[in-house]
Subunit: 232 residues, 2 copies
């Protein structure tokens, strides 16, 4: 389940405060979910609670860590050392939970060779060798969108089956390869959508702005030209 990491984080916080046991109600509140859902999720791992008492925090932390595979470490390669790749390389959150940044790669030979976060950036040419030698199991793509699919293909060909994609593209991968995507502009657009709904009292935008009539569409127009219609 995709909620286990959330529970794990809440449990870790409790653990640091020295709390020995926690009820499903408390833990659910901390994770922001329904308590019945939480119990069902945990029961999927086995019966690790004690009725009338709750769950043993330390024990549950271990069980979830094990289920998530965090008892081993996962070497991660970051491909594309631009703004975001740079930030991720320096991000402390990786190492804290079983993830280790094993390699940084970039297609630009001016970037390759630089030291970032204590590591030397390698060139894309070495991708296959690095993946093999360092047993990299997870690839993080932080390249520009046009390069993402090509990088993805090379990662898959090199044997990687888990990819975290920050590039704003839909990656196509063969069966058996997991891709998760993080897309900032999509998140913002969803927020904008809801924000607009809240202030829906304003005069609604016209359904058929002259600039966007479907009839006689310019067809070949080099586009990018969003109609600049700005409702009042």
């Amino acid at each position: 389940m995709a909620r286990l990491p959330l529970y794990l984080r809440a449990l870790s916080a409790l653990s640091e405060r020295g709390v020995p046991t926690v009820s499903s109600e408390e833990l659910a509140a901390a994770a922001g979910v329904n308590s019945a859902k939480l119990r069902k999720d945990l029961s999927y791992l086995g019966s690790y609670g004690t009725r009338g008492v709750g769950y043993d925090v330390e024990y549950l932390v271990y069980q979830i860590s094990r289920e998530l595979g965090l008892t081993q470490d996962w070497p991660v390669a970051i491909i594309g050392i631009g703004n975001l790749g740079h930030a991720l390389a320096n991000y402390g959150g990786f190492a804290s939970r079983g993830f280790r940044v094993a390699a940084l790669l970039d297609a630009d030979r001016a970037v390759a060779g630089q030291r970032i976060a204590g590591m030397v950036v390698r060139h894309m040419d070495d991708l296959e060798q690095i993946v093999r030698d360092d047993h990299v199991s997870i690839g993080v793509i932080t390249t520009p969108a046009p390069a993402a699919q090509g990088v993805c293909d090379r990662l898959v060909a090199a044997g990687i089956t888990s990819i975290l994609n920050f590039a704003p593209t839909v990656l196509s991968v063969p069966e058996g390869v997991d891709v998760r995507k993080v897309d900032l502009s999509i998140e913002l657009q969803i927020l904008a959508f809801h924000e607009q709904r809240k202030s829906a009292v304003d005069p609604a935008a016209p359904d058929l702005p002259a600039a966007a009539q479907p009839a006689a569409s310019p067809a070949g127009g080099p586009a990018g030209d969003l109609p600049e219609v700005m409702p009042a």
Copy 2:
């Protein structure tokens, strides 16, 4: 719907290539979804397709942009100018679609005053004033986790009702405020989970490691001490 931004991106790409119309089948493939689902999503906006032909690309781009509220621009404030905040400030993906970084803020007076991405970083003390004067409608939290809830509360008090949270915490907000979260380590943990499942042939970790027996738990232990059990 949360898929509209995906469609919009695919449509924009088609638009740039000068494609005049597109069928639900093609667009669905580009967005990586089922064609029936796509048609249903689009029909929710109204009947903008032509049977036997497909959808007019430019027209649909406009309709979706309007639905998402992208025909107006949304001033965004980034709070917490660390690695990630720095990267986001320089990220071009914001401006490209109706979003404008209106302000950068940080609690550290050594950071406030610096110029980043052509803007002067302001101090947190000015948050309320900045939100009011610049009509900021979306707050992006890139602070460390412990500071996130406090920042969130101040944003909400200042009148912001949409928050994009990068800090690894569950934010609690009053009714009517939308929070979306982007959590790198959760994404990685989900990948690790599936990765472990794939290689599930390895000798399973023990169910009851001595280090994590629930009986006689150390209780007050200052935790953070994940059992260091590493199966084999």
